[in-house]
Amino acid sequence: MTTSETDIEQTGAPGPDSSGSAESANDGGASTGGSGTNVPGRDTKRAGGKALLKWGAGGAAVVLLGLLPLLNLSLPGVLPGPTYTPGSLQLLAMCMLMAAAALSYHMLLGVAGLLSFGHALYFGAGVYGLAIILDNLDIPLLPAMGLTLLLVIVLAHVVGAVSLRVAGIPFAMVTLAFAEAGSVLVGRNPGGASGGEEGLALATDNLPDFLVGVVNTRNLYWLALAVLVLVFAIVTWVQYSRAGHVASAVRENELRVRVIGLQPYLIKLLVFVVGGVLASLVGMVYLLLQSGAVPRSVSADFTITLLVMVVLGGVGSRWGAVVGGVFYTLLDQRLTSLANSEAIAGLPDVLRIPLSEPLFILGTLFILVVLFLPGGLTGAAKRFGRGRKAGRRGEETDNARAVLEDAA
């Protein structure tokens, strides 16, 4: 593109709204309006009340989730058994971990506008890093986790520093290439460390007893819940910190940020590293929950899964990432059991083949959401809740579109 007078007009004479736009732009929750048409007084009050309600609801949900292993609730069609059974707890824990992983991806895409295709590298680094350390070094869990985190911080800095030399779609391609190198490395099984295609079983010698075995699934469930809450808190904190504001300002208009003397590159690198570290943390707990590492956790497919979760839930929204992670995990699980069911096996090929491939259905659903529901599930739910104002797409949709536009 050419640089023209229009660029100068924007940057040379900052209009009255230029300082405020960063503030209003990136609330992931309900009260957003990227395009700055808020009526300040009333909106703030209402948003304040709404936020309080939302946090209250969030807190209640956490308490309820915390109590689930002690309760005997059944959700036929969603959970394999009552909530206290290990099977259900395992699935719920997986939902929460995926929600947390999706949140870490939201850090990149929703906050900083970075479309990474290599996020699985950090998740996988958490999974494999911890697995390999526990397998080879005789140290307890916490130091092993600390060591893994250290490695991930270095890795994320190196890869981020190089990848952020380009932006937009080239950035996506480059992060994919780096993640692929990680995936190939794991597949090669260097020195027998990663177990190659077979994966690596979790070495339990140095783990505390309460995290080992099916009987302790509920402890792992609580751990997963804790990780979700922690990741949510950190993402919220970063998003509302000065760095988060600058990051979203960079996302919207990098030139403007550069003009006021800040370094977009460093801010983006910071968000990239924090996102990577959070993903690796989730990966470590994933390892404990699954009692093993499998190559899929470093694959490009897994990054794409995270992307699908975030988009399904609603781009640019933390709750969207959570909802997307949970929804995707449950749906994937249900579709897999549907694929193996008798009802499907009896259908003619034209129906049987597509329906017995969960990823075909998820991929198609994803395309439909991108085309017709750009605000994702949370956007659609809010619109529905607001009473379906005819013809109005809703600000979540606009916000999601804007976030995606900014990533280009």
């Binding site: 593109m1 779609i169 080239p170 692929e180 699908v308 990823l359 998820l362 990533a407």
Partner: protein, 291 residues
Amino acid sequence: MSTVVLLFVTGLGLGALYFLVASGLSLSYGLMGVLNFAHGSFLTLGAFAGWEVARRTGADSWWTFLLSILIGAAVGALFAAFTELVLIRRLYERHIEQVLITVGLSLATVALFEGIWGTDPVFIDGPAWFSQTTSLLGAQIPNDRFISIIAAALVLLGMVLFLKRTRYGMIIRAGVENRSMVTALGIDVRKAFTLVFTIGGAAAGLGGVLASHYFGYVSPLLGGSLLIFAFIVTVIGGLGSLTGAAVASVVVALLQQFANFYLFGTGDFVVVIALALVLLFRPSGLLGRKS
């Protein structure tokens, strides 16, 4: 010496495949900013179509091979045109959403291919000549390498002629440089884009048939694994540059072959390191526009 020759020709053959995938990717990004994740699926479908043709008409005849190449290219082109007209066009200028659509398409189609043809690789045969070798400077070179190289060279020549000699080619070259100015001359760039996308799909479909002979099998994951290297090639070559894609295809494939042989199978990593170096010192790629 003979090892070097063998590695060199084999590398060229692999580079030829990279080019067939990367050329379409690079041009469609250069013209419209569209990154096509489903490009690998065009290749895979082309490969399976070629295999189905060979299976039905007797795999060892040259006519079958030529027919399978034509069908593979045609299937790739049709799939691409469909993708552009039905999915991508409606998200005109929304680049990230376009990428997301192609990601979804790639997920769905790979799963569908697995449903239809199974997850295991399907081994294929070509004319008997393919599995023989030709002696070149003391090296015994599998003949299928030559086929890829010749095909890619012809495709490159065809694309260059198209870009240089036709009005659409002129529109595409101008559009890669400055799309909005082309529209400001009263030209509907989207038509040219549909054409570019379709040609890219044909090249990928053709590449799929050739890749299945090069590797000796077809699998639903064939396209995806080549696609990642094609991404690396397009970034190293410079997005939007056909010549860049050609040069980078050869460089990347040769690096990979030689590193795999002389540096203990580290070809894939050497390629990623090369990518990092290019990004550090020349982020716009070898022959890309400086932005």
